[in-house]
Amino acid sequence: MERQLEFSNRSDRDAVIVDVVGQIDLGTSPALRKSLLDSLNGTERLAINLQEVRYIDSSGIASLLEVLQEAKKSKKRIILFGVTGSVLKVLQLTRLTGVFEIRETELQALDA
């Protein structure tokens, strides 16, 4: 059976980039939340690549919000990029496109 969600970290310049692949839902969002919070510990700037995310629900959105809140508390930055399709739709439906810092590409996220 295909794993529903995978994520991996890499570094570029002063940022940690998290590549997320798969579906973010009630079953997979706790692991993503934990991984993002762990990644945030090791950097001032976390760029989250959502290009290969095929689905996100409100629990996934809540996980991203929690990481954003944690970043703001410690004066760090979260930047989302590759936000298209269903992820963009859900962010629009939840009226959160203005809450997150969103860039179109990885390069733009790193330059931000």
Partner: protein, 148 residues
């Protein structure tokens, strides 16, 4: 390709384990496509049904993953009607209404999404448990209603 003229009924029964949510999402998305929903509408309807199922797992069954969820989708030219049945805790009426949200609220978005996307949402306590009905009118039915 035109929508089928015959109504379609899909019934699923599965454990309250989040791993089965993707199965329900796939079925809803495919049926929506066959009956003429745009890709954007398919995303929306799939999300609404998924949020309702997740609410059952989280709230009715309090994250017990071995309870039973019954799911039925009845589609005709007019609408997609989803019926979800569980035997867990009945929902809090205030939560069904959807609480006001501030932008950083970490919970409560699911019900707001369902109400924003679906045309009808109704809850009923029935002899077999908690029954939630969600209805989405199909584009053809909306066009007829608008006289187009």
């Amino acid at each position: 390709m035109s929508s089928p003229k015959t109504a379609v009924q899909l019934r699923l029964a599965f454990p309250s384990d989040p791993r089965f949510l993707s199965l329900a999402r796939a079925a809803v998305g495919e049926l929506g496509g066959i009956f003429g929903l745009s890709s954007e509408e398919r995303i929306e309807v799939t999300l609404a049904v998924d949020e309702a199922l997740a609410n059952i797992i989280r709230h009715a069954y309090r994250n017990c993953y071995d309870r039973k969820i019954e799911f039925e989708c009845l589609v005709d030219e007019e609408q997609m009607e989803f019926t979800l049945l569980d035997q867990g805790e009945p929902p809090d009426p205030e939560k069904i209404c959807g609480q006001p949200l501030d932008e950083f609220a970490l919970s409560g978005r699911g019900t707001h999404l369902i109400k924003a996307i679906m045309d009808e949402m109704s809850y009923q306590k029935v002899s077999r448990g908690n029954q939630l009905k969600l209805v989405k009118r199909l584009p053809g039915a909306k066009a007829r209603a608008d006289g187009k």
